[in-house]
Symmetry: D3
Subunit: 327 residues, 6 copies
């Protein structure tokens, strides 16, 4: 394990404002040193926003996050892990996209993801784009690491439940992604945790499908009233089962993440969000995505900066496992 690491440009020579932007300054996947292959995580963008219901623009998310992530440093203070020493990480570029068809785009992105790294080892981290792109990464992750029956466990941060059956006659869109994932057997709803929901919503039964299928829902208001007990219980039940994490940046309050397309006031604070993520140390992540960053509505890049740190928090969870020798 000692030789496994991610080689980034030396900031004493190439300061953080210097060089072609890759996620967190990690090497492009084609430039990874042989001794660091296969990479542990292939991080790739999916610049697609053709499945949104309100503001488009997240197709520019991967670029904005790459630029903002230049300031992400490698040592995680709370977990006390040096992420780039424990994990081999790479920027795998952007998937080709099909801007006019969510269904076709999902296939293209999945196909691209499946070619990245070593199928038996490399985990996939997709950066959106709108939430529809998660389905592509979930499919690819499931193909690589899916549990034999019932689908993967899932940890889902979001302002919205995203289990609508169809929108404007279309089954593939950014509000139906988990309905599809459940129907396709990729995700086990009984081991799915959704954090960050809040109102107003369209109608009383918006969450019914999820509840009926056994999803554990923790709304922002419940979290504040009741604390993290239900989350802690879920994590305990989850144990070491392989889990996928999907992180919609709009789980944060629009004050903290203004650059997003369907903002809803009352969301998580950065402090709440980071505390929750850190409480998940020990979870066995097999894939992840971060979605819905919309740069045109961002200011001073605060949303993209936050997103790049969420990405780091998620990777750090895996680094913690490696540091404990459990991966």
């Amino acid at each position: 394990m000692a030789t496994r690491r991610t080689v980034t440009a030396e900031t004493r020579v190439q300061p953080r404002f210097c060089g072609i932007s890759t996620f967190c300054r990690y090497p492009q996947i084609c430039h990874v040193d042989p001794e660091n292959e296969p990479v542990d995580w292939a991080i790739y963008g999916v610049p697609f926003d053709g499945a949104v219901t309100y503001r488009p623009g997240t197709r520019f998310g991967p670029r904005a996050i790459r630029d903002a992530s230049q300031y992400v440093k490698p040592y995680h203070l709370e977990h006390a892990v040096m992420v780039t020493e424990l994990l081999s990480l790479a920027d795998a570029g952007d998937a080709p996209v099909a801007p006019y068809s969510c269904e076709k785009n999902t296939e293209l992105a999945c196909e691209y993801a499946l070619k990245l790294g070593d199928p038996a080892h490399t985990k996939l981290f997709a950066v959106g784009g709108d939430h529809s792109i998660a389905l592509a990464n979930i499919r690819a992750t499931h193909k690589r690491f899916g549990a034999p029956a019932g689908g993967m466990a899932m940890i889902h941060f979001d302002a919205h439940i995203d289990t609508v059956d169809e929108i404007w006659g279309e089954k593939f869109n950014h509000g139906s992604v988990f309905r599809r994932a459940i129907e396709e057997g990729l995700i086990d709803p009984k081991r799915m945790l959704t954090i960050g929901l809040r109102g107003p919503i369209n109608k009383a039964d918006d969450f019914q499908y999820a509840l009926d299928h056994g999803v554990t829902i923790v709304t922002c208001d419940q979290l504040r009233r009741e604390g993290t007990k239900r989350i802690d219980d879920f994590l305990k039940r989850l144990g070491d089962d392989p889990a996928y994490m999907t992180f919609d940046i709009d789980s944060f309050d629009p004050t903290f993440a203004p650059g997003t397309g369907t903002p809803c006031p009352g969301g998580l604070t950065i402090q709440e969000g980071f505390a929750l993520l850190r409480s998940m140390a020990g979870v066995h992540l097999v894939g992840a995505d971060l979605v819905e960053v919309l740069p045109d509505l961002d200011h001073a890049g605060v949303t993209a900066l936050l997103a790049s740190h969420v990405m780091f928090e998620i990777l750090a969870l895996d680094a913690v496992r490696v540091s404990k020798g459990v991966n």
Copy 2:
């Protein structure tokens, strides 16, 4: 009650980015279906900012809030009420304004408000504009629903007490509005609650007039030190008495509501503000206003979006009463 409802454009046909903007997509008052008349609340703008002491620009508040409010959905998750099924709501357009005279503008706006809906039934919700426009709506509300003696109760969210006697020789301005309302007998200061004040202020006795008249003041710092006990006590004392709610968006911290003209750091967080508003379920509201949204200083519309959700939270308080059959 079953047939009473607000008909909004179907989002499956007219998505939220589609159509002429009205408050929360509620119908224009001239388009309300006869079975939904008279409306329960007439929501109207007063695009006036001639009474400010620092930054002007809130005259563009109603338009910005109309646009941002397109994303406000109808079901309140915490109160578990479908607001548009319980209340008949309408956008009553903008009052004519007198941009060069606060006093004359107050008269014009009040006159306009008094013609809206059914005087015996329709409640008035004014959207500013600067805080001076509240006096117009308070006068109109008092005329419609005022208690016989001592004025209405009032719940007041604000960074500033707004009981200055006069400013630059003028009795009518956005810092004197509650002094005037008290003097005119519209508001009973002993049943007035002011939440969100904070320093720095101009001098030690800035709150003296209010304190002398019995106003219950809860500063942001007191709230954090002492919790909501004094607010809870006030609400208990208030009981079912008719109350008016005036909401200055600058009660929120400028981080959450940058688009306002006299921002003061240290204000309410969204989380605090929403919790307080929701704790007021049961209050018997007879009128309301939301003021001081200044779009030119906003970014990504976060302030206008927040304002439109505050509007929704206030209307939801009334929906809760209707749902309990007490209205």
Copy 3:
């Protein structure tokens, strides 16, 4: 003709920052006085941007243009016509949209347009949205006023020729709209004038289809080198034939119109654009559109303001004809 006019709110009572925003403060079509019916022009939005090749976001164009157009005054100084006295104009709201399918959206918008005003009299002005929405309005206009053979004449302002056969496997998109219009026989390419093209372009033969079909092309650089002779000749040949005008805001240089999705430096200045539009007095317009305004990239609303004045310049061309009794 003396009684025909457009009634707008009196600015002495309702200043330009007051009231629900309609295009140029023209009445909503449902509020037009009977003596002003049928309207001469129905102006409607098509908030669709699902057909773009680069930046999305023009779905918010109609709203931004409505807001910016509040400052458009009614008298055209150069033509010396009072547009609102000569024409009955109305805001016909927004067409329903099909956000996920350009082809379906084109049908929906066309269907909506065909219902507006009096089919025998009312002309249609569509406000985008991306350029794909022009096809809907061209179809509807052709159905109402199309010349018997060979399609309508067309005046086309644009940075791009928009005659690509298909993009990403899709025939309906914002770069193929005039190819489709020519194929469908709606437009006669021999009487089509395209102004504002400029490089860089994708390859040498990007304009070949248009040239092969006889389109008259005047690039920005030709215009500056050669002056307006070819345009003047075209207009002379055109005479009083019915013509459709399609105006892509990106015909202007990005400095003048930053709020657009495929900006190309070197475009028309405002001074050039207005001079060209005014030189077209006498043209027999039977329909028009204005497209590609993208508010999220705009600053201080300059692009939307410019767009609303282009709309006014186009309508003024028709007013000139009415003032000469030729309509």
Copy 4:
């Protein structure tokens, strides 16, 4: 004359981003060296915007212009004059304002101006604020240097004629300022030149009052069609008569000056505006103002930067006269 000069901080010690901001880094009037007293021009702000008809916010104009003007250098390349060697210039601070009354504000600002420098020598340069503040400076200038009969000559750059009789019942506002100045006998309309007007306007006779009183009007379109002949003729007729210059930043196109409250597309380019100003070398200026800079709508300070250079161009006209020994 050799010792007369304006002492500014040495940029080799205090770079242009250093120090408390004064107009163009000129000394505060209380800090002027005795040998440079009395100053030739006292430049003062009037942060008042209570007289506008559309967007407010120019009250922050003086501060924004002070900040942007730090980059104005002292040597005028085209006129070949070192302005700070030829003229003693000072920042005279801001006049007190009466934010709620244009009429009272006009009096306060005039009163303040009259106390600045040496009444027999010092010329007054007012920086707005909205255009209403010009009346204060015109009054003060007239009192100091007014011609015995018929009022001063005036050169007026503006998108609007500003000779409306009254607006919203008020005689004192930013659209009536020259009507008042003519009525008060301060300005001789027969020697008044207005440059930059353009449409659309409210009605055909908007300019009638001005034309009836003999004002020379040159619209933007006339200027482009006919060149500067009428302006040159005016200047020839004017000769060495004392003239006042009032410069509304909205005479420029909104592309060049987005930060203003009543923007009208089609205005002067910077190139046109500077050429016109420079063609006025030789004019005998006795006072000036620059108005309508609205920082909240500006981006990157381009409007304030432009305004500060216009101020410099105007002062340079006087420096040219001094350099020729005619002052």
Copy 5:
């Protein structure tokens, strides 16, 4: 003490948007009334940003803070002190800077500071500029009020520890400032408290130098987990020893302070920061600085506004001491 006070322009005559901007409207040091001399605090800017490691631009910090601080009022509500009655405060302008050399700049600024006010009485408050400017003010303060042995105590708010030995071969930069201060004996690390640190950081031992020298570190996460006990203990130990406060605005979360050059998510909220500052009433401050405000990344001036209120909070701590007669 009764006559000691800071005379600011009367807001009834010169509203807060009026006048040349000085810090909090305090008088320029050359204009202080004799009875208020020597001033208690000389507040001066150091517009230098040549020592940064990521985004530059804080050279415009002092101007932005001056402008934003116009809205800072004088009475501190929580401490119940009228700051301007208790302290004589003045804006001492900006130090000359050496933009190309941090080392030389440090000397220039220190030299400038040492000349301000009365060396035996006047305390120095430096406003950055980047954090490197703190060293200048610390040196000057130490020379004036330094404890005989071991250096001054220090309270340090920051996202970063700033004890790197050198960066890019340079000992003087914004990340090495406290290393230098400790080495020079100006600061006693055993009586140094650093609040606001958080990860990610560059490597595990980033804080080692500080820890080895006995600095008390309280990270944001520790603060949330453990409360203020360690801070309270530090303050108790500190007692009445002279202490210097250095406040990096990036100790706040980027949501609250987006306008800064090395933003790190997860920082202090305004509510946390103000509570901590207020808990320090009683501390014997002998100097202070506030640094790293970067206006170009700010929006609506929220960061500069926050910074100006932090400045007020710090000054209020001293006012509290004066009010208790202990100064």
Copy 6:
């Protein structure tokens, strides 16, 4: 020559918003196909802004230009050349920088440049960063292709002459770059053409050094008065001599290029600038740079977009030569 070309990602698969950003989507130099080696031009960034005299921030220029350049297409319409078919172009990444020392940075960047491509063939295109970085590229270019005596010819677009001897005691800064280049014998001032200068300037003799050394200066005002005759004459004299082009984006008016650090009103319009560049077809370029793009002051990326098109115009000049077989 037929096989020589630049391979960019296929936009039908990887749309322009897709993929890691390189200049104009040209391949990274390490990914160039062998048959396209050695590249004709190596384009590299130098993210250094430590030598500015006013606003810093151009260190983020290369990234912003890479992102904006994604929309630069390959065929030049006016020259009728397919640039990517005629030239082998590559993005050579960013040079290492020395943020605290202009002199050292110049050495580092020069050293980096000298290693790029084939010394006997590959031309160097540097992207700033501030103008000081030009010296590095001029040195490297001179070493590769310098004429034997008297230095290279130079075409210089700029608002400023940049021949100051030293600033703040420093010989290496962004205002002294051509003084140094002349002194070092890299540039022959007699064959140097400077376009775009304008006032105001610091003093009458600011251009004296340049004039004394025989530089041909064409100010913006001269260009408008006299046309391009002097430029045409220069180009005729220049003939086929090797020339270097240095393009400061501030040669454009701030309206067209707001994102720059020392903006000066009255500059070139896009139309003027492009016409001038295109008139230089035939010039024998051996090196080039484009500098002073400051993204934080840009809006909607218009400056970076313009810069990327200027880069394309410059490369197209070389493509024209290749197309004529003269290279």
